[in-house]
Amino acid sequence: MRLRRSFTGTVAAFAILAAPALLLQAPEKSPANSSPRWQEPGPRPPASDLRALVLLERAVRAPTGMAYEGTKFVSAWSSTGTTSLVVDVRHFPRSGTVTRVRGTATSPAGETFAPDSAGVPGGATPDYGAGVLGLLARNYDVTLGGQEQVAGRTARVVEAYRPAGALAARFWLDARTGLLLRREVFDRSGRTVRASAYVLLRLRRPDPGEHLPPMQPAPWRERVSGSELAGLRADGWTCPQELPHKLSLYDARRFEDPQGPIVHLSYSDGLSTVSVFEQRGQLELAGLTGWRPTHIGGADVHLREGVPQRITWSADGTVYTVLADAAPETVADIVRSLPHERVDNGTLARVRRGLGRVASWVNPFG
């Protein structure tokens, strides 16, 4: 035994010294969802009311050719409190909606422009109407409610129920034009998380010399196809096809930032919308103001409160930024489902990392 030991020992020592190539096995990041196809809206669940879906479809198409303006309030409830604003809305036919916040004591006034999705030929934003409405019909049971008055107008009520039976959202749709006048969204416990309603609304005839919407940077037009998404996943990008709580991917874009490529994935279940941005790198907090470190979904992240919630962290060489307009428990589950740094400080893990780093110094191609 001892005569062999020295030879074995020498071989073992040299094997250990030469082992970085063997020991180094980057943990394979399993693809979140191997399906490269786009999520197709499924058939309408039998519990939905066809008349309710027809009304919703009408509401999707209604703003396209109409010019209207009004004032509405918007409120969002979250675990940290409430955000409420009064906004002035002005819609330009076949263009989009300009929303302007009325100045309050806490937030400055500002204006944003949301382009129309339906029926804008050559528009930057593709037509999401049918797809996302299909998601709503697939994920919720949509039924007719009664009639109520909103901003002096008669409105038909459409309700969306979760499969478990709890009310998820309520829409008040103008009986004459089909416009969405009021909207309330509830979380699983039945608490209101989003509420918005027109306080006043005025329809008008569109003027030929209409005030043009203000200029804004063009959205990233480079859409990512399903096959390109599969290629990204093979390269190590996460790009999940679905997020928890039936949030389906309905849009994927890509943009070249000076810091590198950014992939923008948009998810919705028909009521909530979430955007996940992925970039290659390590999160640098120096330039971020107003963010605070917190713990969401069992992970250490940085959060900026507001609507949408803004959450960012980095894991395994990718920086994730999540902008979520969803219930808090949904946001927590989304954050939990995405990759996070698993800092394993065990002896073996540290030795592996150290060998990897030494190998990377020695091997210029590694």
Binding site: L3, R5, S6, G9, A12, I16, V60, E69, V74, S75, A76, T82, T83, L85, V86, V87, V89, G96, V98, T99, R100, R102, A105, T112, F113, A114, R182, R183, T192, A195, L200, H211, P214, Q216, P219, D251, Q259, S266, S268, S275, R280, G281, L283, E284, A286, G306, P308, R310, T312, V319, T321, D325, E341, D344, N345, R350, V351, R353, G354, R357
Partner: protein
Amino acid sequence: MTHLGDRVAALVDGELSHDARDRLLAHVAGCPRCREEVDAARQVKARLARLSVPAPSPALTARLLALAEPGEPIPPRRRPLRRLPRPAAGPRSSPRPQSARPAVGSTGVSTRRGRVAHSSADRLRRFGMTGAGAFSVAGLALGGAFAVGGQSGNTGVPLTPPVDRLEVEHAATTGGVPLTDPAFSSVLGSRLSQPATVANSGVLLRGSVGSVGLTPVQPGWLPTVAPSR
């Protein structure tokens, strides 16, 4: 097998460096299986030490004594590589040691045997030191790797996500989602570079706040639309 493998013998024999020995002892302290094996190795060593040294055979003794007598010419130096069969070099190399072959044979055997008997301790010590050195180097390498692999992370270029730009993109893709409120995706987060004025002339008031029938508003919200009717 155990975690220590062949290092058990080195540990029991005290042939490891300080650091390697301490590390192994630390592991053994916490690992019952390895502790058992080390104990077993220690017991074997103790038992071997207690065994009596066998006496050399008389033939060996006689051969050793014969070495002291003036003998035959010194045999040619054995080259280790020559032990390999060399068919081509047969006729040339054989005549020289031919005459001394029997003596060489006997003394060679005895020499070989003697060499074995004489240098076994040296060889063992040399092997032990090589093994100890190899394990020390390996231990140092692992220790260095342990130190270098401190905190994971720093695996990419440090960057700050352009959150303002991302908010605009989020508004662009969610604003078009029907039946969601563009105000939620755009207003409270993003801003344009300069606010434009929206003409508000001729706005008629259609209803009062009370007629909407809403849940009570939270403090901090100041309705600026005055109800009139």
